[in-house]
């Protein structure tokens, strides 16, 4: 506890240097812009920045990424409130109550409730990381290859079986990702796999190109095929503010949302989407005026938005302590860690203590910057929504190509990028989720390595995979996740007569 506080103070000292402050400021500004802009989400933004961050030191790069993550959460709610179309899936809920508020001329109050909610949620979430992450890390510090393998299998199953509507399609996406991850020389035996004698494939397909291809090129092509030709009107808005009466309705949701958000953000159960939804349902249930919900209840903006930012913190804490990505952006950040040769997980707090604590301290700094910037700048951000779509998507394609080219300096990588973008396009067309695919690419090779290492140590004895308490617990969780629909179906059969409308 005291150790954590001391480390955090050290982190603040490092995060407050001019260079790192600059990274935090650029991160939150860029993140807010990305959150406001349609079509480009935080995962895509970090993927596009991966090639550039080679030039930075890892600490600066992760401060930048964390700023983008939190900034995008902030910015996403602006789009939701002013233009009924949510910028990120996390801000769908904000549109339900925030947009009616804006239509009634209370857009400024909705923006203020969202911004302060994000601030409180982020701060509570960051405190959560400070308190819980070292604890988890210290418990998990002795984990070996069998445990790592089990956790990675959990990551595969969780993102595939819990999220999305169709499990077959989720697992198909995962298998595509695992296949892409197999291409290249096997790191243990040097055997060429799926290279078909092409020398350029021997090094494998760079994970940056896969991430940029799936997130940026795939998305740009998909939007291009269905580009909306009519634009919705942006509701004009002034400087955000709250009256005393608004505050009376918002302070409790602001304080409740973060706990829901951090919990659901840290487990592989849908990240911010699930968090905001759960917070919304809670606020509607607890409200003294539930009839207002759906027509512009400020509680329905305050709670879910606080939950959204707290869930980002929860996602970060799971990614840092266990190396387990629960959302797309965590997966891309994990890829960034791998690029720098850093292994997230319990040892991170021992091996890279300075980096982690500087990153955590910069979360607090970034949140303060966000609040200071966003309350006065809201009308300016709203203007970003008017950018002509051809420029926006041409820009995404342009930076995707610059990034892919910068990785290797070979024009042929643009063709690889296009092929992977084509895969991303087809996945969006046929409802295959992108997240399992990217997690398959990033974690697949690592999982294979851990599996083979575990068997190597145990001389080929398969029972080694369930030889530790942690691995047994993780496999039990996996079994529950896989059996959940079966259990649910059995339960539903029982309650069908009483609740025919239940989903």
């Amino acid at each position: 506890m005291i150790d954590s506080l001391n480390s955090l103070m050290g982190g603040f000292a490092a995060a407050l240097t001019p260079g790192n402050l600059l990274f935090a400021a650029i991160g939150v500004l860029l993140g807010t812009a990305i959150g406001v802009l349609p079509g480009i989400g935080p995962a895509m933004a970090v993927a596009l920045l991966l090639p550039v961050t080679y030039a930075f030191d890892p600490t600066g790069a992760f401060i930048l990424f964390a700023g983008i993550y939190f900034g995008a959460m902030f910015g996403g709610s602006t789009t939701s409130i002013l233009l009924n179309t949510p910028g990120e899936s996390a801000s769908v809920i904000a549109a339900i109550e925030g947009n009616p508020m804006a239509r009634q001329g209370r857009g400024a109050q909705a923006l203020a409730a969202a911004a302060i909610g994000h601030f409180i949620g982020g701060i509570v979430g960051a405190v959560g990381i400070v308190l819980l992450a070292p604890l988890v890390a210290s418990v998990a510090v002795d984990i070996g290859a069998p445990d790592y393998f089990a956790i990675m299998v959990l990551a595969f199953v969780a993102v595939t079986a819990v999220l999305g509507t169709s499990r077959v399609r989720g697992f198909a996406a995962l298998a595509i990702g695992l296949t892409i991850g197999l291409v290249g020389l096997d790191p243990i035996s040097g055997q060429a796999r799926l290279t078909f004698g092409v020398p350029q494939l021997a090094d494998g397909i760079d994970v940056i190109i896969v991430a940029v291809g799936l997130f940026a090129v795939g998305e740009a092509l998909w939007v291009a095929a269905h580009l909306r030709r009519t634009q919705d009107e942006v509701i004009p808005v002034g400087r955000p503010w709250l009256s005393r009466e608004d505050l009376a309705h918002t302070w409790k949701p602001w304080l409740r949302g973060p706990f829901i958000g951090f919990t659901f953000g840290s487990i592989p159960a849908g990240g911010a989407e699930m968090s905001t939804f759960m917070s919304y349902v809670t606020e509607r249930k607890l409200s003294k005026r539930p009839e207002l919900f759906g027509k512009g209840a400020i509680e329905g903006v305050a709670g879910p938005e606080a939950a959204a930012s707290a869930s980002s913190a929860g996602t970060l804490s799971t990614m840092l302590t266990l190396g387990l990505p629960t959302t797309a952006i965590a997966a891309v950040m994990l890829a960034a860690f791998q690029q720098f040769g850093i292994q997230p997980g319990p040892l991170l707090f021992v091996n890279e203590a300075d980096l982690v604590w500087t990153l955590i301290a910069s979360l607090f700094i970034g949140l303060v910057l966000l609040l200071v910037l966003n309350l006065p700048l809201a009308p300016v951000w709203a203007k970003l929504l008017q950018i002509p779509r051809p420029y926006l998507y041409a820009g995404i394609l342009f930076f995707a190509c610059v990034g892919a080219y910068a990785v290797s300096g070979q024009p042929v990588d643009l063709i690889v990028l296009l092929v992977i973008g084509g895969i991303g396009f087809l996945m969006r067309r046929y409802g295959l989720p992108v997240l399992p695919a990217i997690i398959g690419v990033i974690l697949g090779p690592d999982a294979e390595l851990q599996l083979r290492r575990a068997l190597q140590i145990a001389d080929g004895d398969w029972s080694t995979l369930v030889s530790t308490p942690l691995s047994i617990v993780v496999y039990l969780v996996i079994a529950v996740l896989l059996l959940l629909p079966v259990i649910r179906r059995a339960l539903r059969r029982d309650t069908d007569e009483r609740e025919p409308a239940a989903r």
Partner: protein
């Protein structure tokens, strides 16, 4: 028959998964390195498993589609799913990317990038002539200078090198 197939175009995804799965299985069966005592699993076990998984999923997906299931196309704020897919735009964009890959070694980044940005805005329906190419050139040149000088990422300058260098 054609209508039946069009409504079940998702079977194509299933066929692709099957094809990739078979390729992965065959590739790992053809591999020469065997498992050893220091590497009990060997380099081919995991690919074999992934290949088998792909084949299995292809079958399951086909069964799902034939019994009426279908994947939901992804929505988005700029996405209008009520209009049919605009294949021309997508093919134009793909063409622009291929042309850019061919142009980089010859023209260098500033020019190839300008073509890329302008081509993409054109494909996406913008026809503003003095404005589009000017923005494209501005973005491309700024990016090149930023990458080349500030970030130290080497992007070829092409013939323009002489002018700015």
């Amino acid at each position: 028959m054609t209508v039946w197939l069009r409504e079940r175009s998702e079977l194509g995804v299933s066929a692709l998964l099957l094809l990739v799965g078979l390729v992965v299985v065959v590739d790992s069966l053809l591999g020469s390195v065997a498992a050893t005592s220091s590497d009990p699993l060997g380099p081919h076990a995991v690919p074999l498993l992934v290949g088998a998984l792909l084949v299995l999923l292809a079958v399951l997906l086909a069964r799902d589609v034939l019994s009426g299931g279908h994947g939901e196309a992804e929505g988005g704020e700029d996405v209008d799913l009520t209009v049919p897919a605009d294949k021309r735009t997508v093919l134009l964009l793909a063409g622009v990317l291929v042309a850019t890959a061919a142009a980089i070694p010859v023209l260098g980044w500033p020019l190839a990038g300008t073509g890329l940005f302008w081509g993409a805005t054109y494909a996406l329906g913008s026809r503003s002539v003095p404005r589009d190419p000017l923005i494209a050139a501005g973005v491309s040149l700024t990016t090149w200078i930023l990458f080349d000088t500030l970030l130290g990422v080497d992007l070829p300058g092409g013939p323009l090198m002489g002018v700015f260098g």
